[in-house]
Structure formats: structure tokens, C-alpha cells
């Protein structure tokens, strides 16, 4: 059974709706789904009080949940989901797909902070922009993204992929400061520009910046020039890249590829090659 959700109003208060999750919807009747508990501000409500819930019988095993409309106030959609699919035709709120293990989430709008936080598997694809802390762990935790894939077609905020261990984050727009902060493994690709401090305190892993970067941390050392960089199977960027290694402060050996052409201000590093 597939489920369509239509917001019944423009939400003003924060909505916490962990129940919007294919694993939870599975094998539930329409009535049961409508009765699922959500929070609107400090009041507990039923899902059916906030959304018009529509069920479509299908032959597929794993359900597809589609939200039609603006869900930018709706937090924790798809938290911990293991299978199935969520499609959001509009914006989505914070903590989308946090600790997700499998399945797919697609958003045809913008997403606020902590999307894919502490993700362990599955795919999140965002056609708009994503907020801060994309794929990053909860406060105080070092449990970064362990696996899975996040694709953002717009821009992202600060600290994308912080503490990342495995998996891939592809950003086809620009990234804010501290992309790949304290990263330990995996790959972050920023196709366009990147604010400064990319890879700060990284220990291992790969960051690729295809556009302009304000500056490279002084605690990175230049390793060489590369003609191309492989992002993942089937995606290779053919362009000259500087390769930096760091972060020295953490005795790290992370790889930071910076496209040469958009960054003439880094040419002084070439004297070390």
C-alpha cells in the first residue's frame, strides 16, 4: 500500500513526526496510520489531524510515502527507516532520515539541518538546498555517517559530513564552512564553490572541491597535481586538481582535492611540488 500525505494547513509550530516512516506504515490500515501520534508544538495530535491521509493499494512490498506540500516544519521524517521510500514534493524539516539504515528518501524542495544525520545506509536525494550538519552526528557524538549516500543538487550549509566514516555525499551546488570536519573516511564531493576550512581536523577520507575555495587550511600540506579525480564508480571529474594532505594537527592523511583552474590564488603552493 502506498500512502499520500497532504498537509491540512500551513504549519506554524514545529511538528515532530517520527512515525512518517515506511517501516511503521507497513501493514497498517488507513485508520491506524491516521491514528499515529505526532507532536504539534507541545500538543500531541494524531497524524490524521495534521495531514489528509490517502492510501493507494499497490502490489509492491515496501510502501512509498509521498508528502504533497510544504513539510519544512515537519521534523524527523523517516528517522531510522530501513526500507521503502519517502518522496516529499515540497520542503522538508530538520532531521530528515536521521539514523536511516536503508530505503530511499527523495525531496523535491529544500531541507533544513541534520538531514541524514548519523546515517548508516540507504539514499537521500535532495533537489533543492540542504541546511547545516548534513550527515553529521548529534552533539557531542563522533558517530558520523557510517554508510549510505546523500545527493544534494543545491547548496548545503556548514559542517556537511562531519565525522563521516564511510559512504558518499555529493553536492552539486556549493558547500558552507567545515565540509568534512573531523572526517575519518568516505567521500564528499562539492561540485561548485566551497567556503573555507574544508577538511579541518580530518583524519582520513576524501574531499573533492570542483569550484572556488576561499582558502586551504595552513595545516594541510601539498602533495601534488592530479589530472582527474574519481568520485565513485562511474563518476570521474576530468580536470587538473591540487591534492593536499591533512590535517597535520590530527596527524591526518585525508585527501583534499581542489580544482586548479578556479583557484589561481593557490598557485603559490606549486613551488613546493
Amino acid at each position: 500500500m502506498n500512502v499520500n500525505l497532504y498537509p491540512l494547513k500551513e504549519f506554524k509550530l514545529p511538528i515532530v513526526a517520527e512515525c512518517i516512516n515506511p517501516d511503521i506504515f507497513q501493514e497498517k490500515s488507513l485508520k491506524e496510520i491516521e491514528a499515529l501520534k505526532v507532536w504539534e508544538g507541545n500538543k500531541q495530535k494524531r497524524l490524521g489531524e495534521l495531514f489528509k491521509v490517502e492510501a493507494v493499494e499497490t502490489s509492491f512490498e515496501a510502501p512509498v510515502i509521498t508528502i504533497h506540500g510544504n513539510a519544512s516544519r515537519v521534523r524527523r521524517i523517516g528517522v531510522g527507516m530501513k526500507s521503502g521510500e519517502i518522496i516529499i514534493k515540497g520542503d522538508a524539516g530538520m532531521h530528515l532520515g536521521e539514523e536511516m539504515r536503508g530505503g530511499k528518501i527523495t525531496v523535491y524542495g529544500n531541507v533544513l539541518g541534520w538531514a541524514g544525520s548519523m546515517m548508516k545506509g540507504g539514499t537521500i536525494e535532495i533537489y533543492g538546498n540542504a541546511g547545516d550538519y548534513l550527515g553529521a552526528p548529534y552533539r557531542g557524538s563522533t558517530e558520523g555517517m557510517k554508510d549510505g549516500k546523500i545527493i544534494v543538487h543545491g547548496n548545503v550549509g556548514r559542517e556537511a559530513g562531519a565525522h563521516m566514516r564511510k559512504g558518499i555525499i555529493k553536492i552539486y551546488g556549493s558547500a558552507g564552512q567545515f565540509a568534512g570536519f573531523r572526517m575519518k573516511g568516505g567521500t564528499i564531493y562539492v561540485q561548485k564553490d566551497c567556503e573555507s576550512r574544508a577538511g579541518a581536523c580530518m583524519v582520513d577520507g576524501t574531499i573533492v572541491v570542483g569550484g572556488h575555495i576561499e582558502s586551504v587550511m595552513p595545516t594541510f600540506t601539498i602533495e601534488g597535481l592530479r589530472k582527474r579525480v574519481k568520485i565513485e564508480e562511474g563518476e570521474i571529474v576530468e580536470a587538473p586538481f591540487y591534492l593536499f594532505i591533512g590535517d597535520l594537527t590530527e596527524n591526518g592523511h585525508g585527501r583534499l582535492f581542489i580544482a586548479k583552474e578556479p583557484n589561481p590564488h593557490l598557485s603559490h603552493y606549486e613551488k613546493f611540488l
Binding site: Y138, S141, E143
Partner: protein, 565 residues
């Protein structure tokens, strides 16, 4: 209010009651001979186990260090939450629960008295503010005095009586309960990033050794007639080979013991029962410690049992915590307190598959089982250092059941398993002995006269567990033991039924106990004049802003003690 608990199997070791079926009567918060049967509220405890409320001699539940630990670890709390109910406040849990949650969780297990073992005197108000916010349970705290400049200076100059008078002042000023020593001398050295290596290694700039501090404060303790002995966290804690230091520490006060009475409490002994030269050759020193303790009567100790889980280590032993930070690479908080002490905090995960951690787990149980007299070795996890206190039901099961130990042994590091002494130990504690290591022995070691037993006149702090010792064998049904201790059928605190079937029914305040030391001659003014003069030199607060006034204690329970000085 009157209460009659009927027909349970009662374990009350202080009064020699061993599983007898009897009724217990409660009136106005005390155990009484009998109550008016018609008027009294009745609890049917048929087929249940009854013990005095649990006591914890060493559990870090309040104060600057604990709170710095809470602050450090949002990732520890965010998945373990306690929503507000009609009667309880909300909070967060796991290894360093918020204050309300701490009180409720102890009560749910049937524990009613908890001693916070490390209070930096300068920050004593903080400890008491938190204790006052810790509901249900009674509590007290031990001021850290082993590195206090006054103590170091007086003991160096051989002025024991002078030292005793200042300690007396300090215990009153901080509303403390016992003298706590942590890595004596080492914390002062840590002020400049150093440590002491043995009990005879001089403290930099002070011309005194840890041995002299331990002996000196042991004498002071005796002069003041404090209810508990000195409470010692040994030098070299957490280092391979340190069982030698632990034995030397116990030995150095042998001659100060009187009539077979305890003179020293070695706390979380598991952490100072390490044999070997380094982490590679690391092994258990439990047997050596147990042999010593079995042959001597001047020592009590507690386990400091390790649990395989993620927890937060915290002690006043700043240099040890730094070592742990370097070993684990985990985040590290340090907080040194001027003229007094230090503290360190490091999150830590004890893993079954780690040789060292698994051996530590074994050491704690070996100590508890090899030391023959249960009055000498009390159950603790040194919460949260060995693991959070909510693991007590599991430890009770390990102590009562060989089968439970084997089940865990099977899953630990193979090298640790093969070297563990546990497979060679058949001993299984019975409920009587469990009542000693979790209640009666704790009360006796602490000198708490009205707690840890169910005799007439005792505080009506009672735990009722849904386990029938007549029909069930704890050795086999260890999981049922665990369940019973996890959620007490009833917890009664000061005569109030506060927990039923593991649910908190009532939020009441517990009392804060402190020792009101009364010196033979009222020479307090002299002490104060002396203090005032040195106050400006030593501390950065004014003399009159230093002491904890009684209104910081939600319920103040002073225990008057007459000193011999």
C-alpha cells in the same frame, strides 16, 4: 502514617534474620514493634523477598564533576529520556542521569541511601544544591581532603591535633560526612601536571609523602570519632602493578587499627587490583588483595565492578583521567580546584572483546567472591566509572549465580576468559549475603546506625522484591533475580510507599546527612582567625562566603559526633 508489610521473606543481617517469614510494622517513618492492624495500610508481600533499603557507599551522583560530565555528554543522554508524569519531573539518563532521574532510578531498584564520594570543598554548595534536587533517597558527601594545603602543611609539621581541628571545621563548613583521599599527594602534584609514583614519593614543594598523608588523616579520623573510616582512592590507580600500592596503603595503617575495627576503606578496589608491568602483561591481582584482606580486619572495601557498556569515567584523580584520555583518545575534561583537589572526566566504553576490560570485569567479581567475609567487600560500580548504577541487578545476578557468570564469560575476550579465576570459583552468594554487600555491610562500614537493617527504631527504608526464595533458586533463575532487582515490587522510604512495581508513585525529598563534629573545647574562633589570615592567601573567595549554610540542604540531617580533640 502506619504501614504493615505482611508475610514476606525477610533478610536483615544486622539483626541476624535470614529469610524468615515475618511481618514488618512501620509508623512515622520508623520500624516499630507493631501497628494498629485495622488502621495501617497493608502490603501483602507473600512470596516476596524483603530487605532494608539499598545503600551505596560510593556513587558519583552530584556536584561539579558529575555535572561537568553531564555537560560533556549530550550523546549519552539523548536516547535515554524520562518524560514528566503527574508525580515525577522529567530528565535524562544513562551514565550520568540528571538529578531527578538519579533519585527515581535508585528508588526503582529499592535503593534508598547513596553516598556521593567526592566533594571539592570550595564547590561544596554545588554538591549540596544537586543533592537537594535528588529526590527520594537520603544522601551524604565526602569532602576531598587528602591534598588540601592545610592538611599537607599541618601533617608535614606533625601537628595532628591542629590538623584535626581544621578537618573538623571543614567537615562542618562543607556539610560533609567522611574524609576522602584521592591519590593523596598526586593531585597537588597534578597542579603542575605531575603525579606521585608510590606512597613514599614526596609531594613536590610540600615535603610530605602520601604515606604520611594517609596515616595522618587516619589518626585525624580517629581523633574526631567520625562514623566512617578514611575513604581512600589509592595512589597509582588504574595502572598495571598497582595491587602492590593498594596493599601497601592498607598495610601503612595496620598499626592504627583498634580492637579489630576498620581503620581504612579502600574504594573501587577493582581499579587498584592490577598485576603486571604494562598493559600487555596486565592481569588480575585480586587473589593477592583477597589474601591480604582475609588475613586482616582493619579494612573494608567496595568492588568498583566493571560493566560492558558505554559510560563516563570521573574522579578527582586528575592525572589518572589524563592517562585514560591519552589511552582512549576520548574527549577529556579536567577541573583543578585551588588549594584542594582536582577532577577529570573521560567517556569510556568497556568492551567484552578487550582483554583489559574483560579482565577488569573479572577482577571485580573475583574480589567479591574471594574475600570470604561479605562485610568487608561491598557492591558498587563506582558509578559511573565501572558502569552506571542501573547495572546493579546484573551484578547481584553474577554474585548469586555461577551460571550467570558463565553466560557472560562465554562472550568475553578469550585470553581474558582463559586467565580469569572465575571458572575456579564455585561460591554463590545467597540473599543473606546479598543483603550484606548491598545494605547491611554498607551501613556498618558507614556507621549509619538507623539504616541497613529492619530492627525496631530503624528508618523505614525497605525494599520488596518479587522473588520467591522458597520456590526459586537464584543460582538457576538468575534472570528472574535480575528482573526482580531492576523493578522493585515496592520501595518504601521513610515510611512512604514511593515505588510500586518499578513505577515511582511519589516525589518526596530525601535528607542530606552530615557530621556535626563537636570538638572537646570550642576553639572554633581560633581556627577561624587562623583561617581568615590564610584565606586571602589560599583561596579566591572571602572567608564568610565559603561555608555551606544549612539552608542549602533541602532536608538537613546533622549527625552529632563528639571528638577527642
Amino acid at each position: 502514617m502506619e504501614l504493615l508489610i505482611r508475610n514476606g521473606f525477610v533478610y536483615d543481617p544486622i539483626n541476624g534474620v535470614n529469610g524468615e517469614k515475618m511481618d514488618i510494622a512501620v509508623k512515622d517513618g520508623k520500624i516499630v514493634e507493631k501497628v494498629n492492624e485495622r488502621r495501617a495500610k497493608k502490603i501483602d508481600a507473600t512470596g516476596m523477598t524483603i530487605m532494608p533499603g539499598g545503600i551505596d557507599i560510593h556513587s558519583h551522583i552530584a556536584g561539579g564533576k558529575v555535572n561537568a560530565g553531564r555537560l560533556l555528554r549530550p550523546e549519552d543522554h539523548f536516547k535515554d529520556v524520562e518524560p514528566k508524569t503527574a508525580v515525577t519531573r522529567s530528565g535524562v539518563g544513562y551514565s550520568i542521569p540528571s538529578t531527578f532521574t538519579t533519585g527515581y532510578r535508585y528508588a526503582r531498584m529499592g535503593w534508598t541511601t547513596v553516598m556521593d564520594p567526592a566533594m571539592p570543598p570550595l564547590e561544596a554548595k554545588h554538591t549540596h544544591e544537586e543533592l537537594s534536587d535528588t529526590p527520594i533517597i537520603d544522601k551524604a558527601s565526602y569532602p576531598l581532603l587528602g591534598d588540601w594545603w592545610f592538611v599537607l602543611e599541618y601533617l608535614r609539621d606533625g601537628k595532628i591535633e591542629e590538623c584535626a581541628r581544621h578537618v573538623a571545621w571543614m567537615i562542618k563548613a562543607t556539610k560533609g560526612y567522611a574524609i576522602k583521599l584521592v591519590n593523596p599527594g598526586g593531585l597537588e602534584a597534578w597542579g603542575f601536571g605531575r603525579n606521585v609514583e608510590s606512597i613514599d614519593d614526596p609531594v613536590p614543594y610540600f615535603g610530605i609523602t602520601p604515606r604520611e598523608i594517609i596515616r595522618g588523616l587516619c589518626k585525624v579520623n580517629k581523633l574526631l570519632n567520625l562514623p566512617h573510616t578514611i575513604h581512600v582512592h589509592t595512589n597509582n590507580l588504574g595502572k598495571p602493578g598497582n595491587y602492590v600500592t593498594a596493599i601497601e596503603t592498607m598495610r601503612c595503617v595496620e598499626d592504627l587499627a583498634e580492637d579489630g575495627k576498620p581503620a581504612i576503606h579502600i574504594t573501587h578496589c577493582q581499579f587498584c587490583a592490577f598485576k603486571g608491568d604494562d598493559w600487555r602483561t596486565f592481569e588480575s591481582g585480586a587473589e593477592e588483595i583477597a589474601n591480604y584482606v582475609n588475613a586482616h580486619s582493619h579494612v573494608t572495601m567496595d568492588m568498583g565492578q566493571v560493566i560492558f557498556t558505554d559510560t563516563t569515567t570521573m574522579t578527582a584523580d586528575g592525572p589518572f583521567q589524563y592517562t585514560l584520555h591519552m589511552l582512549s583518545g576520548n574527549k577529556w575534561t579536567n577541573h583543578d580546584v585551588e588549594t584542594e583537589t582536582s577532577a577529570g572526566i573521560v567517556p569510556f566504553h568497556y568492551r567484552r572483546k578487550s582483554y583489559v576490560h574483560a579482565t577488569q570485569w573479572s577482577i571485580g567479581l573475583e574480589l567479591a567472591l574471594l574475600i570470604k567475609d561479605p562485610w568487608k567487600i561491598l557492591m558498587t560500580t563506582d558509578h559511573p566509572n565501572g558502569g552506571p548504577f542501573i547495572a546493579y541487578p546484573r551484578i547481584v545476578a553474577w554474585l548469586m549465580s555461577r551460571k550467570a557468570r558463565e553466560a557472560t564469560l562465554k562472550r568475553i575476550n578469550p585470553k581474558a576468559r582463559s586467565r580469569s579465576l572465575l571458572p575456579s570459583i564455585d561460591r554463590e552468594l545467597d540473599f543473606y549475603e546479598i543483603a550484606i554487600v548491598t545494605r547491611a555491610g554498607q551501613a556498618k562500614a558507614l556507621g549509619l546506625k538507623n539504616k541497613g537493617h529492619l530492627g525496631v527504631g530503624a528508618d523505614a527504608d525497605i525494599a520488596i522484591y518479587n522473588f520467591n526464595p522458597e520456590t526459586m533458586d537464584p543460582s538457576k533463575k538468575y534472570k528472574a533475580v535480575r528482573r526482580a532487582f531492576k523493578r522493585a515490587a515496592y520501595t518504601i522510604k521513610s515510611g512512604h510507599v514511593v515505588v510500586k512495581d518499578g513505577e515511582v508513585l511519589k516525589h518526596i525529598d530525601g535528607a542530606t546527612m552530615w557530621v556535626d563534629v563537636q570538638l572537646r573545647e570550642p576553639c572554633e574562633i581560633e581556627v577561624n582567625e587562623n583561617m581568615k589570615r590564610r584565606f586571602k592567601e589560599y583561596w579566591t573567595v572571602e572567608f564568610e562566603n565559603y561555608p555551606v549554610s544549612e539552608d542549602y540542604l533541602a532536608v538537613s540531617h546533622p549527625i552529632p559526633v563528639k571528638a577527642d580533640v
